[in-house]
Subunit: 193 residues, 2 copies
Amino acid sequence: MTKNKLKEVAMRLFGEKGYEGTALSEIAKEVGVKTPAIYAFFENKEDLFMTVFREAMQSYNTYIQELSEEQKVLSAQESLRGILSRQYEFYQKSPEASKIVLRYVVFPPAFLKETIEEAFLESDAMLTKSIEQFISKGMEEGVIRDQSVQLLADAFLNLMDGLSMQYFYYTSKGIYERKLNHAFEMYWKGASS
Amino acid sequence: MTKNKLKEVAMRLFGEKGYEGTALSEIAKEVGVKTPAIYAFFENKEDLFMTVFREAMQSYNTYIQELSEEQKVLSAQESLRGILSRQYEFYQKSPEASKIVLRYVVFPPAFLKETIEEAFLESDAMLTKSIEQFISKGMEEGVIRDQSVQLLADAFLNLMDGLSMQYFYYTSKGIYERKLNHAFEMYWKGASS
DNA sequence: CCTACCGATCGGTAGG
DNA sequence: CCTACCGATCGGTAGG
């Protein structure tokens, strides 16, 4: 399917070289078609971009959200730690999707700033909710110290954001894993009873 | 001075719209000259970009580093918290410099990936050193629990990275400040004796 | 999905 | 710092 190949290549190139840094001719060439072929499947460049961006965001959300349901048996500590592992897995499994999501959530091109902001806020709200549930559960069970849930959730989201950035600029797997472990270890010290 | 105006406008536009998303003609127009005038001051587009990127990175480093010297009288807690305030101040004071630094440290264009990586690693090492000093001091004074300095430093750097990202996608000042305060509060709970 | 094509704009140079 | 200019490439269309 040419359409899927186009989306695949577009996602990688947009993520790596940016929207303006990627020519439709490059995408077409890698797929093995001529540039005008793209217009048989997508309205224009913006449409192609938004399509792959949405799919990337969607697959990230789904991947993180699945865990929230899977792991309801686990302890609060394991669940929170599980979110971090899950995020890390997604980065490794789908580096193209990860890159385009991070890149354009932080630096949206002007023409779709609002659209992206909406999509992000929705995803952020969902994630926050899951995290707050894990935290509340942990507090009820007495493994998390009784304190503001918002405080704990904000700090955890900050931790996740930090790890997102670090994944992309620390190229070494070993260093990244140490950072991840250390960040969570410290978090847990502050959170646990 | 036309050269300074060119750098100023270039920094802002490169930060906002990206390298490929910014045409030399736009920069020239805002400054009030014609495109070829740029070549009287810079070799080419890459040279202009690297010049402003370097200056932005430099001013960030200097701003953060100055604090390390200023605040030697402060407690460990105040010093660490001071780094976060200082970073926040820089974002507010120099949004253009901040944006271009963050953008290109995480997503360098291919032609200067190595140069930027070097610059970043040097800056990262400096910052790590300052943080480790504050932590060690805190441990000696007994306000920070006796534990691995690397653990504490990694978690603190993670916190700073998270705040960097969040500054750019949470547009509300109030929310950002809450996130900052919460992130540090949790950090300090895990770190302190 | 292709060939043929186009207007607009890009970074950049010559010569002053 | 400007005018005049250029080759290359961009996103996109017509017509099949």
